[in-house]
Structure formats: structure tokens, C-alpha cells
């Protein structure tokens, strides 16, 4: 440390004779910058909670999200966020999130871990099996149905439009019609 950063000396030499401000400013305080300034990138986003649609700035450093706050440019939210939106960092980077596929076999008493590819393959098999077993071409009066009532889906209101679109498109092609979301819940 350079001698001229020694607080006592700064206090004696400078105008902060009582040692209350400039003279006692620590090295950390001196070099303090907000992590928003040191971020590599500011990614534009939208709050995932309610439908107000508050705009968020997502600050990324070294490939990780380091902060999320309101985007002052938004005509809807003007940079403001409620407590949920303000907790977006904890939501997205918190310890509560899981990152493994879990599987419970029939009559099983606990979870088992599963590789993602294997799990996807198993789900695809089950979709096709249930569809084959429950496919209906016609109702009792001979009217065309071309569907399955064996497969249902619930969810969508928290998803992106593009996700809902692929869901509806795939399910419809498979003949599944019991496709629902929180709009009724």
C-alpha cells in the first residue's frame, strides 16, 4: 500500500481533519463499482410472474446472470418491479432449482435419476403407446373423431407464445384434444 493511502496521513494532510469521510475511505470503497457496470452484457427481458409485463434488464457476467432489475425504458413499468419481479434473480439462480431429470417407476417409493435423452425417449414411447391404445376414429354414431382421449396436458399461461404454439401443433397432430391451461384455473 502506498504511504499516501494511509488514512492517518490522509486525515492529517487533508480537509477531513476529523477522519469522517474522504480520509477514511477504504480501498474497497474507493474502487466500488456496481455489478451492473462490470457486466459483460445487458439482456432485455420481461418479468415471468403476472401479466403486467414489466420489462427487465438482465445483467450477465462470465456467462452467469448477476443481477436483474426493471428496465426504465418500458412504457408499462417504467423500470419498476414488485417484490416477485425483484426476486427474479433468486428465482432463476437460486438453490431451489433442480437440474436433473427424476423418475419414479410404477409403485416406486423414491425418485431415481435419469439421463435427459433416455427420459425423452421413454416419454415418446409412452405417448405413442397410449395413443395407439386409446385412438378413436369414430364415435358410436359413425361420426369422425380421429383423436385420443388418453393423453391430456395442463399448462401454458406461464409459457412463451412460441412454446404454446409448438405444444398445440404437436398435440393436435397426435390427436390429443384435452389441452388446457391456467386460463380456467
Amino acid at each position: 500500500m502506498a504511504l499516501d493511502r494511509w488514512p492517518v496521513l490522509r486525515q492529517l494532510r487533508g480537509e477531513d481533519r476529523l477522519g469522517r469521510g474522504a480520509a477514511v475511505k477504504s480501498e474497497r470503497s474507493e474502487g466500488l463499482t456496481p455489478r451492473t457496470s462490470s457486466a459483460d452484457e445487458v439482456v432485455k427481458s420481461i418479468c415471468p410472474y403476472c401479466a403486467v409485463g414489466c420489462a427487465q434488464n438482465v445483467y450477465v457476467k462470465d456467462g452467469r446472470v448477476v443481477h436483474i432489475e426493471g428496465d426504465p425504458d418500458s412504457p408499462v413499468s417504467r423500470g419498476r418491479l414488485c417484490p416477485k419481479g425483484s426476486a427474479s434473480l433468486q428465482l432463476t439462480t437460486g438453490e431451489a432449482r433442480l437440474h436433473k431429470v427424476l423418475y419414479r417407476r410404477p409403485h416406486g417409493t423414491d425418485w431415481e435419476e435419469l439421463e435427459l435423452d433416455r427420459a425423452m425417449d421413454m416419454v415418446a414411447d409412452r405417448v405413442l403407446k397410449t395413443r395407439s391404445e386409446t385412438f378413436e376414429w369414430e364415435d358410436g354414431e359413425g361420426a369422425r373423431l380421429r383423436r385420443t382421449l388418453g393423453i391430456a396436458s395442463l399448462g401454458g399461461a406461464t409459457l412463451d407464445n412460441e412454446e404454446n404454439y409448438l405444444m398445440k401443433k404437436l398435440y393436435t397432430a397426435l390427436g390429443a384434444i384435452q389441452i388446457e391451461n391456467q386460463a380456467r384455473i
Binding site: 439482456v43 420481461i46 415471468p48 410472474y49 403476472c50 401479466a51 403486467v52 409485463g53 438482465v58 446472470v65 425504458d73 419498476r80 414488485c82 417484490p83 416477485k84 433468486q90 428465482l91 437460486g94 431451489a96 432449482r97 436433473k100 427424476l102 410404477p106 409403485h107 435419469l114 435427459l116 416419454v123 415418446a124 405413442l128 397410449t130 391404445e133 385412438f135 373423431l145 380421429r146 383423436r147 388418453g150 393423453i151 391430456a152 396436458s153 395442463l154 399448462g155 399461461a157 412463451d160 407464445n161 412460441e162 404454446n164 404454439y165 409448438l166 404437436l170 393436435t172 397432430a173 397426435l174 390427436g175 390429443a176 384434444i177 384435452q178 391451461n181 391456467q182 386460463a183 380456467r184
Partner: protein, 888 residues
Amino acid sequence: MGTSFGRGGATTFQQDLQNSDCIVIEGSNMAECHPVGFQWVMEAKARGATVIHVDPRYTRTSALADVHVPLRAGTDIAFLGGIINYVFEHEKYFREYLVSYTNATTIINDRYLDTEDLDGVFSGLDRENRTYDFHTWQYEGMEVQAASGQRDEQYQDRAGGGGTVRHAARGESHGSGGAAISGDPEHDPEMLHTRCVFQVVKRHFARYTPAVVEEICGVPQDLFLKVCEAVTSNSGRDRTTAFVYAVGWTQHTVGVQYIRTAAILQLLLGNIGRPGGGIMALRGHASIQGSTDIPTLFNLLPGYIPMPHAHEHESLDAFIEADAPDKGYWGNMRAYTVSLLKAWWGASATDENDFCFDYLPRLTGSHSTYETVLAQMDGSCKGYFIVGENPAVGSANARMQRLGMAKLDWLVVRDFSLIESATWWKDGPEIESGELRTEDIPTEVFFFPAAAHTEKNGSFTNTQRMLQWHFMAHEPEGAARSDLWFYYHLGRIIRQKLAGSADPMDRPVLDLTWDYPTEGSIEEPSAEAVLAEINGWDPEGRPLASYQQLKDDGSTSCGCWIYCGVYADGVNQAARRKPWHEQNWVANEWGWAWPANRRILYNRASADPDGKPWSERKALVWWDEEKAEWAGHDIADFSSTKPPGYRPPEGATAEDAISGTDPFVMQPDGKGWLFVPSGLTDGPLPTHYEPQDSPFRNPLYRQQRNPVRQVFKRKENRYHPDPESPGSDVFPYVVTTYRLTEHHTAGGMTRWLPYLSELQPEFFCEVSPELAAERGLEHMGWATVVTARNVIEARVMVTERMTPLTVQGRTVHQIGLPYHWGPNGYSTGDAANELVGLSLDPNVHIQEAKAFTADIRPGRRPRGPGRGALVEEYQRRAGIGEETGMAI
């Protein structure tokens, strides 16, 4: 709102609330549930607006309002109907607006009979099948043609009905387009004809006097009149009033009619399509509007095109013929439908094969989430995907949700953490009570970790129909993936497995356009490529700019016609972020709103019939004579060059049939509908019915409840005795459920977060000091709350914010239950939805969670088998059986 105005979206946008002179928040707790949107209410208040909060509870919204009106949960139609009556009585309606822009002058046919004539039901009731034949509700001198979704009724005519399960959800099928009528109705411009809509509506509401409002709602007359005075004195040429609602209006057995009542009132006052006016629907999830626009709903295809029904929709032509009106924008339904089929089945969809119309699966009645649960319990539905929802906590009659899942072959849950819907087989309430044993449950369960909004590209459609793009900040970690990834790759794998199949069942899957480019190390499909498909392409493969370019010959493709234009010029319009301070207050250059980036719907009505603003203070769009086009602050929700003087020539169809003075362009007659001749299952006008479970008789009629509400005769879903019948006193209190600011829905995105959990750490119930004294409840002690469905426990919050009301001469207490909690997560508690029964609105199949009855007593609930035994004891004591509450 679809049936009244033509589209099912909020008519205005949140920022426009700042222009209101009076804001009535009813059926919404805006400050708590939409705090950031509430800034616009505070802006209005700072400019001198009167803010009124009508709600059973005094909430954080009430604390900031000028007037709080506590009312009995489930009585809003009576309250709003009372204001309508006041408007008629004191001639406070906006006559010129009414005559020009609504169907007030239209004559109704002479077979129509009102609830006033038939003691609480409308003409056309089929008591045996619990349905209405709507034919007697028609206009005079014209045939009502089947509208979007309502072919069901004709199906019923032919097939002989089949009870409530035959209903499809019609309310939503008007999400972007009104019902269909053809011909020219008769009018009385003086509105004196006894059968003109004005007179019919006036008579219908005449009994909703201040005294009746007090008797039903428990609102003292002077307080009620204060609201009437505020609303009417802040409406007219120079002033506007806005209504704000949320699920406090929709979650009832007459939910759609709640909103209809507000729509009638706002049309009478001339508040639709004008700045500071409108009806603001506040939705509770980031893209719940989007998930009805591009529906993950059984009864709809993208853009509110109805799903075809068995029998009646054998061919594309028959489908269009049946569902498309010839006037209004729905007149182009064939173009919208063919373009959708081209988007999905590409080159396989040809004119010769009806553009693969036959590939669409067919409906046979209602297949809503609640019928699905019953089908699971009965074993016919075997596989279930749960994607970002938590029905084991968040859906009505949560126990039934779990019992249904326990019968499945397989279950896929996609979420951030192990929510209750993923772990019920291991540690759910039925495992604790001994009703289910883990080892006996055959269901295979897959839990897939979901990606967060920061880990994927995509668009949300917010509560004001505005699409906003969010960008990926980084790829998700581990096995976490977006739902876009999951469904794209699931489809890819399934198509691989089916490759080469000759089974006609597999054709729709194999012919599907499914070749999205992928990006990055995890092969994430390009969300922008999906958006481009939703937007659609012209015959040369260029992005379309507007749905008006769509063709019905297969030359254009479009995945959702109302979103056409969101990718105009190949630019992601939803990603536009021009700062608000660099544009006017409407801010059309931020994001993109449907339809066609218009922010206030029906805004042609902000100008008088000649195209001039009603007043300078309330100017929004106007006819620019010089340029011969509509100009203004917002984009006109009207053909941009159609002059006010335009009158449709004989035989005009689609938008050409809409005159230059008709603002409600989706409606076949271009009018706002005070009276709905077709499109609703439970009546052309709203009328007060008591909730399914209510401690009071309906004082208006012998008809107690909505006669065509959906009820289910299941032992897991018993209802409470009729009021004033033996056993009715067993469940004497009114209950309403709600959210708190600090949590979100069923808690999957909040109860696991320490920063939010510490703010509201535990499930509690709110009661008045009087109820606490009556039942011996202690502040911060425990209470047990019981219905015929289940029993839960909660910590007790005694507060004077809960007020007893006087209804029909006696005191009624209300219990408040926030519904966020469940047994998993960091902050835990019982789920309020255990108590809620399945009784649904017949139009949209939404459950009645906002008004039911219960008993409350001090102490904790029983553990183990005692839990079910207590519910059974209550059922016995109340004499509840399978017929209880089932009367029409």
C-alpha cells in the same frame, strides 16, 4: 367481453388508466396482485380521479382508494345491475353513443321471455338437459346463424343432448370475434319500442334498486349511491370511467355474466373505445392472454378459430359455413383457417385434400381440465403432461386432482422445483391420511427441470394483448430445458419412431412442418423461427405484414392470424424497445399488440359518428378529412381509409359490410351488444344468481342458481345444502380465495424463494373480530376450515379489515383464504383449493373459487384417517347426499 364487443381481450391498456376520471376496481385486488400496473391508477388519482374498490375485503388496494365498498362475495351482478338501473332511472346514459354504437335500438323477436317473466330463467330452458335453446333470444326479422363455437347447440338439437359434458366453451370462442348473424335486424332509433334492446334491458334491471342491492350484497344504500354518483358524473363526452377486474369476476358459476354486466354499463355510459374508459382485464400469468390467443385450450385453434366438432364439421366448407358469419372480420374465416392448415401441414395441405382439414381431431362436448380430471379418475385418460402448473395446489378440489393423477399410467411434470403435483405419490395429503399408499400407486412419474425466462428466447403476451420478447441470457444448466426444446425434440423423436409408417393415424404427425433450425450446444429450436411461422408468409415466402393479406386458396400460411404482422418486414416487432419517453403516451413502438398493433380497441368510438372527437379532452382517433384517413394518438381500430360516411352496398360481406360509424368491427352488425342474441349458453342478459354454495336464498326469483351451471355428481365433490333447508346452518360462513403480493398462484415460483417466503411465511385465514368472538378464534392461533370436500388448517389473522355485513336482515361473516400454499417448498401450509368444489361457469368452464361456504372452528385439523372422518361427519350432520345442491 367477446360476446359484448367482439374480442375477448382487455379493451384498453394499463397506461391509459392515467386518463380516467374515475376507476372502479372490482373483482380485482390490483395494488396487491398487479402492483406495477397500479402505478397508473395512482397517476390518475394524482390527477384528481376518484378510485373505488369494490371487494369483500379491505385490502392494500382499498387502503389507497377513495371509497371501499365491501360486498358479499358472489353478488357483483346485483351490484353492477343496480348501477345500470340507476343509469336508466336517472337518464345518465350517453344517448348519442348508445344510439349510434350499440344494439340499443335493435328489436328483439316476440318469442323472447325474460327472467322477469319466468321467475328467474330465460325462455328456451331445457330443464332435463340443463341447456338453453337460444333461438328465442334473436333479433326480430332475421335468422341467427350459428356463431363461432355455438354449433354445439345445434349438435344438441340433433343428437338429443347429453347433459353438461356436451358443452364446449363458447365464451372464449369469441376471443377475437363476435357471434355470427345475417340479415338486417329491425331498429327503433327512438328506442321506444317495447321490444327494442334499450327497453328490454331497462325492464330487466328495473328491480335492481338500491334496496335490493343492499338486501343481496349487504352494501348500505348511501354507500351504493355514492358509487353510482361517482361513476355517472365521471362519464360522458368530457369524462370517462374505467372498470378493472380480474379473477374475482371470472371464478363464479356466472362469471362470464359478471363481465357482461360491466360491459353493458360501460356501453350505456359510452366508455368503451375511449381514453380513460374501457374494461381492463388483469390477468395473472405472464402469458395467459397469449395462451388463449395461441391456445393451449381444448376448444380453440390459434386465433380463436373453434376446434371442429364431430358430426357437424365433416369438411372444411361445412366448418366455415357453420362457423363464419358473412359480415364483420370473421367473414374471412376461411382465409384464416386455410392459412393455419398451411402453416401446420405445408405442402401436404392442398385444395384437393381440403388442406388437411381432416387431420384435425374432433370434439364431442367439453374436454376441459375438470372433465379431464374425472376421466383420469375413471381411468380413460392415462397420460398427463403438467407444464408450469401445479394443480395439486392451484386447481379447485385439489384432492380430486391428486386422486386423478394416482390413476394415471404416466405423468410428466415440467417445473423448476419438486412442486406438489410432482411428489403427491410420495408425500401428498392422501399419503399422510392413509387414503393412498405409495406402493399401490402405479403411476410412472417423470420430472423434467424447466428453463427460466432468462434461459430462453420467446414472447409473452401481457394483460393488454401486447407481445414482448425476452432474450436468452445464457443456456440453461444441466438437464434444464425450455418447453420449446421439450416439445420440439419430443415431436422430432416421435416422428423418427413413426418414420415409414403407413398407418393413417400417423399421417398428421409425419406430414407436420417440424423442421425448425436449432441453435447452441443444447440444440435449442429457434424461437424466432417459430414466431416467423406464427406470423406467416406470402406466396413468395416473404413475411406477411397484416392478416388482411391472408388468402383462402392455400397461397399464404399463418400460424395465428391475429398475430399476423408481429414479424412484418422480417423484423421481430415484439422485440421493439423504443423508450416510452421518446414517443407519445400510447407508445405503439414498444412491443407489438394484437390486433394490428392497436392499443385501445374499438377506438373508432372515441370519435362521434362524424369522426370528430366527442371532446378535446377525450380525443384519441379522428377522421382526417384532408388526408382521407383515420388519424390520432393510437392506430385506429378500423379500416384506415373508410370514411365516417361509408354505408355498405347491398350484399356486402366481411369488413365491407361494416359501416363508417360502426366501431365494433368484429361484430356482424358492428355494434356493441347490450343484449346478446347468440353466443352465450346461460342467457342474453346477466341476472343475479346465488353461488352454488350460499347461505342465502335468491331474493329476486324462485330460481336460486344459474340453471345451466356445470355441476358434477361425485362423492369427492359434494355440495352444501340449499339455504334455509335442513343442514344449511352447518356451513354458515362465506369464503373467498385470493392472492397476496408476496406470492404467485400455487406458489411454484415463490414458495421456494427465501426472499419472498420471509415476507409471507405461512398460510393464514383472515376473519373479523366478530367472527373470531363467535367461534372462539384467537389471533395467531390455529383455525380449522371445513367444507363438504375437505378440511384444512390455517393460522388466524383477526383484523378489522374483514367486516361483517348485513344481508337479508342478518349478519354474514366472510373468511379470507389466500391460496398460495401447499406442503412443499420453503414456506408451507395447507392449500385453500382443497375446500373448493367443482361447479363451473357453463360458458368457459371456470370454477367457483371466489364464493362458497364453510365452517370454521378453533384448533388444528385432524391428522391421519381423522381428516376424512371429520369431513364425513360434517356431511352427515348437514344431511349431504349425491342430490344435494344438484337442483337445476
